[in-house]
Structures are given as C-alpha cells and as structure tokens.
C-alpha cells in the first residue's frame, strides 16, 4: 500500500496548522482536524496494531466507532488505554502506542504465534490448561492477554463533571436524519438537544454526495446546526449517547480534548429520536484481515475529509450499490481502480474510468505484512496495494435494543431493522433502513410526527439519490483459507464451525465460546456475519439464530465519568461532630464508627494508642470523664397516640413510664431479633425521645415512620429526627455531680430532683439544655443536650471546670472498655442476626406482656424456645493470661471432633480491674456461670470461665455515688 496525502482538498483538515505526535516512538506529522488514524494513513503507516490472539499485523479498517483494529494507548495529557485511533483527534505532542504489541506494531515479538494458529483454535485455553490446574497457567496467560495497558500509577488530578439535563426531544446523531428531525422538532416549539459523536456534525454528509434544498449537503448541515444553536437549542458534538436505561434515561459521554476529563450527562428527554446511522460490514475472503483492506466508506471518508488516498492500485469489492460512489471518488483522485461486484446485474451505472468485474467475489487476499494482491473466485489475480470493501450495512440499533426494542429481519436490506416501536423512542434514517436522502427525510418527519405541527418545512433532496441494492454475501461454511469474522478477537469461519460442531449453536454460547463480538468494539462489524454463518452451518435463517443481547455502553466510557466527584473522601462521606475541630485541638485521633468520624482517643497522633486508651479508661473511674456523645440518636415521637406507639415499637412496656423519666429497652425486628437498644425518654404525656445507637439512627427513624404511616396513622403521631440539631456532652464519674455544680445549669442536681434514669431541663448561657441521668459507663453520668451550634462554650466550660477534678477527655475506645466492664452490650457486636431478647437476659416482657409489639410472635417459636440457645455471658481468663481474641470460639468435644458452643464478642484489658474482661455468646451460658470451657483461636486452645456479664460494681452502687 502506498497511501498518501493529496495536495488539495480535505474538508476536515486545516493545512495552516501542522501538528506532530508520536506513534510507537516514531514521529507522525499531520494537520489540525486529522484523527490519529487519518494521520497514520497519510504517513502510510500500514500496521497499526496486532490482533488479540495470533498477533497478526492489523491496519486501519474503519473511520469511526466500529474500528476493531486501530486501538492505541494514549499518554501525555491524559492516559487512556484502548482508544480508537479513528475517533481520536490527533493533537500536538500526544504520545500513542499500539496495543498488544512489543516493542512495536511493526516488529512485534509475539508475531510467531500466528504460525501456530491451527493449534490454538477457539476454546483452546479451556481445553488445554485444565490439567493439573488452570491456576498454574493463569499468570503467564493473563500477562499475554488483553489489549491496552492501564497505567496503574496514574490518578486523575481533577474529577469529571456530571450534568443532569432535561429536554423535550433528544436527537442522537447529527447526520441528515438527525439534523432534519432536530430542526422539525424545534419548529414544533419543542426544546431540542442534538448529540453527535463526531467533532463536526453532518454524519455521512461529510463525505457522501448529496444536495439538499438546492445547496451542497455539507452546507445545509452547517446551516441547520447554526439555526438550532441560534434558536437556543443544545448541540453537543464529540458526545456519545452510550446507553438508554430504564424509563428512557440516556447516558451521554462528552469529550473535550483540552485536557479536561470527559463530562457525563444524564438526560431525561420526553422523546428520543435515534438517528444513529449504519455501520459497513466486511466481506468474507481468505486473509481479509491484512493491513490495507479497509471499509469502502472509510476509504471515501479519509479521501473527502482528510485528503488521504488509501492506495494507488485499489480494488473495490462489494455486494451492494454503496461502493460505486467510492470507486468513482478514488478513481477521480488519481488511483487505478478495479471494482469487483458479486452481482451480475441490478447495480448502478458503472463509474467512468473504473475497471469493473461483475458476478465475481474475492476468494483471497495475499501479502506478507500488507495487502499486495487479490485472487477472485475464478482464479483471476489482481495486483492491489489497497482493497476497499463493502459487505453491506448494519443499522446501528444498539440504543433501540437497550430500550428493550425488538428487531425485525429485512431480507431486502440483509440486516436487522428496528421492529415494533418502543414508547417515547423513534428511529430515523439509516438506522431505520433508509438509504436515499428522500427516504431519510421522510423517516425523520415520521419520527417527530407525534410532536405536533411544525413550522419548518421538511428538507428536500435535490441531487442524486443513493440506492440500496444488495445481494447478501455471508461467510459460508467449508470455505477455504482463514477468513476473519471478528478482527478484534481473531475469530475465523473455522472457529464458528468448531463451536457449531461442539454444539455451541446458540448465539450467546457462540459469543462466550469463541469470544465473537466481545471486547472494546463489541462486534460492531462482526456480529451479523458471525450469526449469519451460524445460520448457514445449522440450516436456520438469520432471525431464527437471533442476536446476542445489546447492553450499554455503546462505546467504552471512562470510569472517571461514572465516578464523577465520588472518589477519595467523597466516595462515602463521613458524618462529622459539631465539635470536631475542638477535639482535634485537644489531640483527638479520629476514626470512623458507623459512618461517624469520632475521637478514638485523645493521645495525639503518634502516641501509643493502647496506652492512651487504657489511661483514659482508668482515669474515668477515678474522678470524672468528659465524652462527646452527640452522635447518639435523638428521635422525637410526639402526639396523642405516642405512648401506644412506643409500646408497640419496643419490646419493653413504655407507656407506664412517668414524664421526666427514662427507661432502657430493646427494639426487635419482626423476626424477634434484637435490632437496637437504647434509652427512651418521656418528656411529657405525649412526647418521647428515642435515644438509639449512633449508627442506627437512620434505620430506626425509617422503622418508626413505617409503623406510623402503615399502622397508626399520621394524624395522631409526629416523628422528628433531632439527632443532628443537638450536641450531647456527657459528664461521667464519681465527681460528675461536683463538676456540674460548679458550671451552673440552672437546675437542682439533688437526688430527689434528678435521680438516676430521670430527665430535667436547665439553661446554659440563655439556651435550654436537657439533662438526663443515663449511664453507659456504670458511673454517675449526666448527658447534657444543647443546640449543636451553642455546644462549644459549654464544652469549654466543662473542660475548664474539670481541671479542679483532674477530669479526663475520653474517646470511644475508652468508653468501649468502660461499658464492657459493666457488661453493657453493643448491638451488632455483642449480638448477631439470631440474638433474641431473652438470650440477653431480658425475659420479663416475653413472659408477662399482654399487649402487641413488633417481633412478639417470633419469640414463641420452636427456635426461640430451643434450650441450647447462645446466651450473653462474661468470660474470665486464668490469672496472667492475655485477653481472649474477639471472635474466638468456645468449643466442646464430641465424635472425636471440636464443635463450637459460641464465641467471644468483646474483649479488653481492663485497666481498673487489672485483668482481661470479655463478653460472649455461649450455649446455655446463663445457667453455666462458674464453668470453665475451652476456647479456640486460630488452632490454639486456651480456657476461660463463664461469669456474669457484669465484671465491675455488680451492685451498681457507683451510679449513685
């Protein structure tokens, strides 16, 4: 092949702006407006990549999204693997590399594989690398597999924008059909968004002949776009509609080519017009994958848009009318042209100066690294440095199928066309099987007919009209030589035959067994020939064989587009405390707990965390501790039916609670399992505050709403989640009361006025504060709730006043030790998805309650009454032993094997007791206090003695101290 740039012409290129970029390390020169492919072709670079399996030399096939061969990895401004050279604009300074080739596409060191091709047919890997074990072969095969290389070290310095967009009509494709439909819809008063994957709208009008309303087609296209923009409609070039999702949501990926990441658009149009055109198919002949064999339409496109003539001695091979225009154009550009048409008659008028052979097909192509000649089926040999091929057109119906559209086979067009209409979606132009511009415009008019009368007249084709004559030329079983069906995946006629022999005759099986239609091009050129061949082999019709499922995305979309800003810290944003910065100044080390970022301890970064935590837990018992408990749930239940409501929601009877008092209780799921625990506060007759676990607030809130709306009614109950409105500052320890008295909260702290499990109100700096005597440490505690935005002065005051008492700031880790010393559980840690309330020692309501509550019936099943249930216990270890491992199993022996009899759920070294403490769920544990059992962890066996869960101050005296 001797492809070259002509001295004149090229509608897309700007010869005043030369550019240079590199391909496989060599410099390539081109012009602004070139694609990487057109520039490579202009420089006569024949081999642009290596095939996936056999490492065959491959050249450019197409000029658009369908390209199976010309994939390049791009580095430089933005690293992108597997980019189609045919759609990627050439830009100054880009570094591009061929894929699947080392060191270069021209001199690939794995090219030898092609000589072993007959030993590695389809499914070779499945059959060969079974014994002794696939995993033995996997690393080396994986290293050889794949196309482009991902640069794992590269991270985007910026994030992709994501745009939500609404319009009346979204038109996909700015060729003649899309432009006409957009203009007509605009004329009907609708808001229109027109998207096209090319940089310049116009579609086929950019290289195919035509005259519209008396003007050259390309001029008409420019005027139509200008009119749409002037009327305020949105026109997005370089934008691919890659998928239609449920309820006609359309995903767009917009490219910028200025260093910015792509933009993802989520469009909700009222109507969609798909004017997505059609893709040219190859013809089946031996060695039809040689470099220099291009789609005829691509050859025409490179000539008209980029002034690149793909060869000097060109054979145009076709089975349809569309290649005649191509033959005419390349002969006029100076090439020596022979047209070979498989049809004897019925074709358009013969182009002048073109040698024409009718009723003959290509049998094979020859050449070592690029095409050097062809042989016809009668043995005639023709020299050629380029073969332009047209095997007919496959309408681009991918998006229609995404929307669950069904296809209908057209024998006349030798293609699947859109079948029964889909709500809200119309298909126009070549995608609907239209060929001539008149038919295209008629289909566009029909596509927007439902949108009402339009003030714009339907465009008229005033020039020569294309014709759609075709005689199908599908690959045939038993053909000689290696005939490629799928270039990208190296699937030949013989591979499809093999699949059929081994009974993989369903298209979906054919695809998986041979990889036909997989990878980046998803078989845009190969699917139809492949299934037509399978139809031929199995004696079925093409529609009987059917197509594989079309799924988004139509073309590869960068993951960065889907991710948008959801990366790094924004991937799963944490909830933050109002006093976070104050805690940081106090040396807090933060960790995420149940979605909240909370102080783990206050030892400062770099401190020995275990020592800091132990120190905090020890000092908390000695005098007084300050703890930020703002994350604790504060959900208000208000209304005349509030008492009845909380009775139903809780396992424990709550309606008997007196105003001003608090009660601890469980919420169960309907299956009886303990869902949450916490304190319920009754503020007055009709107002409660549900104080649930920090990480359960959203779930508890949702559950309260569900029962309110689905059982009790909205009129008598109101639910308000006040969790984030208020900060909760906890003062706990023997000196808690003394400290609070120095602060002055305007209320009596006397035992009679504010006993344990009571709530009272005071004021601080003019703001109301709510004070609850509730304890999660086992020591006298006050939980002070105040407006979140006024919490900082109060916290500062508590800390200042605390100095006189040697007060200690404690983080969540110390609190975990304190509560475990007392045997207080954490739901989900000390319980699991089978734990019932009586497993935790709460038998009363189950035995006595007569009123209905969530989960009640489930507490009286056979399973719930089983006598060997896991029950909450404390576990102590022999003197001098380290703490048990959390998750270690209690074991028993039988049948010569070890059996689990429960497990350790919490385990700590208690600094106050000076020994390890642990909680666990152990079979029949409540009745086995004092019994020593074996504990197994990672194969090591130790022992522990079952005890009451509470290891510290069993009498509870410290609550009142």
């Amino acid at each position: 092949m001797t492809a070259s740039r002509l001295t004149r012409g090229g509608s897309a290129i700007d010869r005043t702006r030369p550019i240079r970029f590199s391909f496989d390390g060599a410099t390539v020169e081109g012009f602004a407006g070139d694609t990487i492919a057109s520039a490579l072709l202009a420089n006569d670079v024949a081999i642009v990549g290596r095939s996936f399996k056999y490492h065959r030399p491959r050249g450019i096939w197409g000029a658009g999204v369908e390209e199976p061969n010309a994939l390049v990895d791009i580095s430089g401004e933005r690293t992108t693997p597997n980019t189609r050279a045919t759609t990627e604009p050439a830009r100054e300074g880009l570094e591009t590399r061929s894929v699947n080739a080392t060191p270069s596409a021209l001199a690939d060191r794995n090219a030898f594989l092609d000589r072993f091709a007959r030993f590695i047919p389809a499914a070779f890997y499945y059959k060969t690398f079974m014994w002794p074990d696939w995993h033995m072969f996997e690393p080396r095969i994986r290293a050889m597999a794949g196309l482009g290389k991902v640069d794992a070290g590269w991270t985007s310095p910026d994030t992709a924008d994501q745009v939500n967009h609404h319009c009346d009509v979204l038109v996909v494709g700015a060729g003649p059909a899309g432009l006409a439909a957009a203009r007509l819809a605009a004329g009907a008063g609708l808001s229109v968004t027109l998207v096209d994957d090319q940089q310049r709208p116009g579609g086929s009008l950019g290289h195919r002949d035509g005259e519209i309303d008396g003007r050259p087609a390309s001029v008409w296209a420019e005027e139509t776009v200008a009119a749409l923009v002037a009327d305020g409609h949105k026109v997005l070039p370089s934008t691919t509609a890659f998928g239609i999702y449920d309820h006609n949501l359309v995903g767009l990926n917009q490219r910028h080519f200025d260093g910015r990441p792509d933009t993802l658009w989520r469009v909700r149009p009222r109507r969609i017009v798909l004017a997505t055109g059609a893709i040219e198919r190859p013809l089946p002949f031996a060695n039809n994958d040689l470099p220099g064999i291009l789609s005829a339409d691509a050859g025409l496109s490179y000539l008209k848009r980029h002034a690149v003539l793909a060869g000097r001695r060109i054979v145009v091979a076709t089975n349809n009318d569309s290649a005649y225009e191509v033959a005419q154009a390349v002969v006029e550009a100076g090439a020596d042209v022979t047209l070979v048409d498989i049809r004897r008659d019925g074709a358009p008028a013969l182009p002048a100066k073109v040698r024409t052979i009718k009723g003959r097909a290509l049998a094979s192509a020859s050449g070592r690294l690029r095409v050097e000649g062809v042989t016809l089926d009668d043995g005639t040999k023709l020299e050629a440095d380029c073969v332009l091929v047209s095997g007919g057109w496959t309408p681009t119906i991918h998006l229609f199928c995404h929307a669950k559209g069904k296809l209908a086979w057209s024998e006349a067009r030798a293609a699947f066309l859109p079948g029964d209409p889909v709500d809200g979606i119309a298909v126009a132009g070549a995608a609907a099987g239209a060929v001539s511009l008149s038919d295209v415009f008629a289909s566009a008019e029909k596509a927007i007919a439902a949108s009402g009368p339009t003030k714009v007249t339907v465009p008229r084709s005033t020039g020569p009209e294309a014709t759609g004559g075709i005689s199908a030329a599908w690959p045939k079983p038993g053909s000689k030589g290696r005939i490629w069906i799928d270039y990208q995946n190296d699937v030949t006629v013989k591979d499809v035959e093999l699949a059929a022999r081994e009974n993989f005759v369903s298209v979906e099986h054919l695809k998986r067994y041979t990889t036909l239609g997989m990878a980046t091009d998803q078989g845009k050129t190969s699917n139809l020939p492949g299934l037509a061949l399978m139809a031929g082999i199995t004696g079925r019709t093409v529609p009987e064989v059917g197509t594989t499922t079309y799924r988004p995305p139509f073309t590869p979309v960068p993951l960065a587009s889907f991710a948008g800003a959801r990366a790094g810290a924004l991937m799963a944003p944490v909830r933050r405390l109002p006093l976070e910065n104050v805690h940081r100044e106090s040396g807090a080390v933060f960790q995420e707990y149940g979605g909240w970022l909370r102080p783990a301890h206050y030892g400062g970064a770099g401190a020995d965390a275990d020592r800091s935590i132990a120190d905090e837990a020890r000092r908390a018992r000695q005098s007084v501790a300050l703890f930020d408990g703002s994350t604790l749930g504060k959900i208000e239940v208000i209304g005349p039916k509030a008492a009845e409501f909380v009775d139903f929601l809780y396992y424990n009877t709550m309606s008997t609670l007196k105003p001003g008092r608090c009660r601890y209780g469980f919420m169960l799921s309907e299956n009886g399992v303990v869902f949450d625990d916490g304190v319920l506060v009754r503020l007055d007759e009709h107002r409660f505050v549900v104080s649930c676990s920090s990480s359960h607030v959203a779930a508890v809130h949702a559950r309260l709403e569900e029962w309110r709306q689905d059982r009790f009614g909205r009129e008598a109950i109101y639910i308000h989640n006040a969790t984030s409105e208020m900060a909760t500052l906890t003062v706990s320890g023997p000196n808690a009361r003394k400290l609070l008295e120095t602060v002055g909260l305007g209320l009596s702290l006397d035992e009679a006025d504010l006993p344990h499990m009571a709530v009272s109100h005071g004021t601080y700096a003019g703001d109301e504060v709510r004070i609850a005597r509730v304890s999660f440490t086992g020591d006298r505690s006050y939980e002070i709730s105040i407006r979140a935005d006024r919490a900082e002065p109060l916290w500062a005051h508590l800390r200042e006043a605390g100095k006189a008492f040697d007060a200690v700031l404690i983080g969540l880790e110390a609190l975990m030790i304190l509560r475990a010393e007392k045997g207080f559980i954490v739901i989900g840690k000390d319980t699991d998805g089978t734990t019932l309330p009586h497993d935790l020692g709460s038998e009363g309501p189950r035995a006595k309650r007569q009123t209905e509550y969530v989960g009640r019936r489930s507490l009286f099943t056979q399973e719930a009454s089983r006598n060997n249930r896991l029950q909450l216990v404390g576990l102590t270890v022999p003197s001098g032993e380290p703490p048990l491992a959390t998750g270690a199993h209690g074991i028993k022996r039988g049948d010569g094997r070890l059996h689990s009899q429960g497990f350790v759920t919490s385990s700590y070294q208690s600094p106050t007791l000076g020994r390890p403490i642990a909680l666990g769920l152990i079979e029949r544990g409540a009745a086995r206090h004092g019994e020593t059992i074996e504990i197994q962890h990672l194969g090591k066996i130790s022992s522990a003695t079952i005890a009451a869960p509470c290891a510290f101050d069993q009498a509870g005296d410290r609550l009142h101290a």
Binding site: D246, R268, E670, A702, R711, R857, S858, T861
Partner: protein, 88 residues
C-alpha cells in the same frame, strides 16, 4: 434509571427509594397466631411476573406509599399514599 412517582415529591430517581415489601401483606397480631400464618407474613413473597403492588419509601421525604408497577417492563402503573394509615 427508573423514575418513581412519590405521592409527596413527584417523580424522582429510583436511587432515592427503598423497597418496603408486598402491599397487602397484613400483619397478624397476637402471640398465638398460627405459626404458618406468621411465617407467611414474615417470609413468603408473591414475586409476581408482571403487575405487582408494592410498598416503597421515598427516603428523601420519608413517605411510604403503594406503587403498582410491572416487574417485567418496569412500567409504573400507579402510586398512592397509604391513605392515612391502615395496613395497606
């Protein structure tokens, strides 16, 4: 992405909703409900192909409502609030 009609907010993306179960799965009250009746309430779902009546919640506003939709075509047929609060 499906658009679900919240009776309170109007059409919103499906990601804002949670599924709440079959509509009409009335809760039997009492500690002596026959065990198979209770098991059906807890676990047995109709999982129809085609028209389905379901309870959904719009997480953004907290509205629980009944939506009728086609599980095959994903077409939404109707949506209505729970009607002031008796088991739907």
């Amino acid at each position: 992405m499906q658009l679900f009609p919240c009776p309170f907010c109007g059409p919103r993306d499906e990601t804002e909703f949670h599924y709440g179960g079959d509509a009409g799965n009335a809760r039997p009250d009492g500690a002596d409900v026959p065990v198979d009746r209770w098991t059906n309430y807890l676990y047995l779902r109709s999982n129809p192909k085609g028209a389905a009546r379901e309870v959904w919640v719009h997480m953004n506003c907290g509205e629980f409502f009944v939506m009728e939709r086609d599980t095959l075509t994903h077409k939404v047929l109707s949506s209505a609030d729970l009607g002031g609060g008796h088991a739907a």
